[in-house]
């Protein structure tokens, strides 16, 4: 029982790290980026290459995966995305779906179409028991890393100079420019940071979710659910939404395996109708 809760929390935390980057680009920059999963996939594959082929220790590969995805995100932002910010949502949807298709085929070409796993160190494998609750070591690691990240994210956005610049740039980019904030630069960094988080999530999640070229398509809906249900005005919303989604998904499969993903989709639609701005959004009162 509590094991299920624990698994659900780990799954939800993982979803949060994967989706938090999207919460930033979609929520703060109002850009519909369906290709978010592609950056996560890139991080996952970077880890696979580093750990499995080059023998880099698992923990050392995590920051590299973050950086690699962040760099890829930065390059794409400067080269392509920046031209699409101002376009209608329809264009953004088309553009990012195109990127997803391309990344799926490219990953297939480079890495092959089979599922690949990261060889995680021995001491992270397996499970131990506390008061009858089965705790997966790897899942515990996920919870710890993701928990720290969440706190750090909240702190950066709320309390640092960069955070306030970002919020200013989003609220009114013209005034922000007038105040001497380099808005383009802020956006680019934010985008890169979001992509990096996705890459980190991909690296961590490869073990649990499995990594294959269709990753961006398979999980796109989950990311979108996290962000839309959680609302985009803060980090707490998506965080709570991820936890709900993770626990709901795992518990649903355990207790009512015949219903499948039915519950998740229904809840999503109901929430969106009931509170179009998201479940945990203060803006909903507007």
């Amino acid at each position: 029982m509590l094991t299920i809760l624990f698994d659900g929390i780990a799954y939800g935390m993982l979803l949060f790290v994967l989706a938090s980057g999207l919460a930033v680009t979609l929520g703060l920059m109002n850009f519909i980026n369906l290709a978010h999963g592609s950056f996560a996939m890139a991080g996952g594959y970077v880890t696979v290459i580093l750990v499995n082929r080059l023998g880099v220790p698992f923990f050392a590969s995590l920051p590299i995966a973050f950086l690699a995805s962040a760099v890829i995100g930065f390059v794409f932002e400067r080269a392509l995305y920046v031209h699409v910010y101002k376009k209608p949502h329809l264009d953004q949807v088309l553009f990012s779906i195109g990127l997803v298709f391309m990344s799926v085929a490219a990953a297939d070409y480079v890495m092959g179409s089979g599922q690949i796993f990261v060889q995680i160190p021995k001491f992270l494998q397996g499970q131990f028991e506390i008061y009858g609750i089965g705790i997966g070591r790897y899942r515990l690691l996920i919870i710890v890393i993701c928990g720290l990240l969440t706190v750090a994210l909240q702190f950066i956005l709320a309390n640092t100079r960069f955070g306030s610049r970002l919020r200013a740039a989003v609220d009114d980019s013209r005034v922000a420019r007038g105040l001497g904030i380099n808005v383009n630069w802020v956006f680019a960094l934010t985008f890169a940071f979001g992509s990096g988080l996705a890459g980190l999530g991909g690296a961590l999640g490869a073990e649990i979710l499995g990594l294959d070229p269709t990753f961006p398509l398979k999980f796109m809906i989950y990311f979108l659910i996290v962000v839309t249900v959680g609302g985009t005005s803060s980090i707490t919303g998506p965080f709570l939404a991820s936890l709900l989604l993770g626990i709901g998904d795992v518990a649903g499969k355990y207790y009512v395996p015949t219903l499948g993903s039915f519950v998740i989709y229904t809840i999503m639609i109901v929430v969106l109708i009931w509170r179009p701005q998201g479940l945990f959004s203060r803006a909903a009162s507007r």
Binding site: L90, F101, A105
Partner: protein, 348 residues
């Protein structure tokens, strides 16, 4: 300002001019029908183009004319496909034409119900809601395995001859003629619809909902109506797929199908009815060519096409369709203004 009686007459004339058939349009349909005799060995892919064109036409009605972005239009398509396939499998309705109508009505019913979900909300909310509805139906079809065959698809469907005379043959001859006739009839209906005052009011809703409601247009009513009609069109397109292949599988609801559909419409250009049809022709031949050329990596090139279209700009890409747009009298308020000015100066 024109005096009211003249203004009414000008407007009526203008509407009539909009609805008039142009030579290029007539030519388009002559070629389409001539293909029945001209390209007998391409009928299979032409059949796919016909139902895909109809499906894209349906999306055009809500995207091009009402401005609703949908990532889940496959919901209606899939419902139509399963309805038609189930009707045939359990021999409830043996006449394909009748089954087609029932499938269309079923999709319309779903369209009507779900239309209330897309009335409000941002683009993102609508996107997620439409996507969610499609996913939900897919899961439903998967769960109702005893009825739908679940993940294996609905096997053992045999479709009776159309009107009791034309059997669906392996070469797709009947399939193409049948799909094309259905497409043509529905196109006529759509054309009549968008060129009516109703169609104009839709465009005003798309342009500025607030102002539209200020001049007495019921925004919600218009959106519900067009969404329902479009759903029916998509349902019939799905039913055509099911009838011409005597098969339906979960793939009819898939996200890829809705995403491809957006691409189809964008290639052809939205908002002038022919966009979906032209897009379907280009998309199918492009996909057929690419997937024969590189069976493993063709999605890459499809993706590239999407990215390039957006980067270059949709308007510029589809500018070659301008003659088509003009003849279909794509509504343009400046054109109306010019028309009014011209006719009023004539009268003076």
């Amino acid at each position: 300002m024109l005096p009211p009686p003249i203004a009414i007459r000008v407007a009526t004339e203008w509407l009539a001019a909009r609805a008039r058939w142009q030579p290029l349009e007539v030519g388009f349909w002559i070629v389409a029908f001539a293909a029945i005799w001209l390209f007998p060995d391409r009928h299979l892919i032409l059949t796919e183009i016909a139902w895909l064109g109809l499906f894209a036409l349906s999306l055009d009605l809500i995207l091009g004319y009402a401005g609703i972005i949908s990532l889940g239009h496959a919901a209606f398509f899939g419902l139509g496909a399963y309805t038609a396939a189930l009707l045939a499998k359990y021999e409830i309705i043996n006449e394909p034409v009748l089954a087609l109508l029932v499938a269309g009505l079923a999709a319309m019913a779903l369209g009507f119900v779900t239309s209330f979900l897309v009335l409000r909300g941002s683009d993102l909310t609508r996107l997620m809601v439409t996507l969610g509805v499609a996913l939900l139906l897919r899961e439903l079809a998967n769960r109702l395995g005893w009825l739908t065959g679940g993940a294996d698809g609905l096997q053992g469907v045999s479709i009776k001859p159309v009107l009791g005379m034309f059997r669906f043959d392996m070469f797709g001859h009947t399939g193409y003629a049948y799909s094309l006739i259905v497409l043509f009839i529905l196109f006529l209906i759509a054309r009549r619809l968008v060129n009516s005052p109703f169609g104009l009011s839709l465009l005003s809703v798309k342009g500025n909902p607030l102002r539209a409601s200020a001049i007495g247009i019921s925004v919600d009513g218009r959106l519900i109506a067009i969404y329902t009609v479009a759903a029916g069109f998509a349902g019939i397109a799905g039913a055509l797929l099911a009838q011409t292949t005597s098969f339906a599988s979960l793939e009819v609801f898939s996200f890829d199908r809705s995403a491809d559909l957006l691409l189809v419409l964008i290639i052809g250009g939205a908002g002038y009815l022919y966009g979906g049809l032209i897009g379907a022709i280009i998309f199918k031949f492009m996909q057929d060519y690419l997937s024969a050329l590189t069976p493993q990596y063709w999605p890459f090139w499809i993706g590239l096409v999407l990215v390039v279209i957006v980067m270059v700009g949709r308007d510029r890409i589809t500018s070659w369709t301008a003659p088509f747009r003009r003849i279909a009298s794509h509504l343009n308020w400046r054109a109306l203004a010019r028309h009014v000015a011209a006719s009023s100066s004539e009268r003076r």
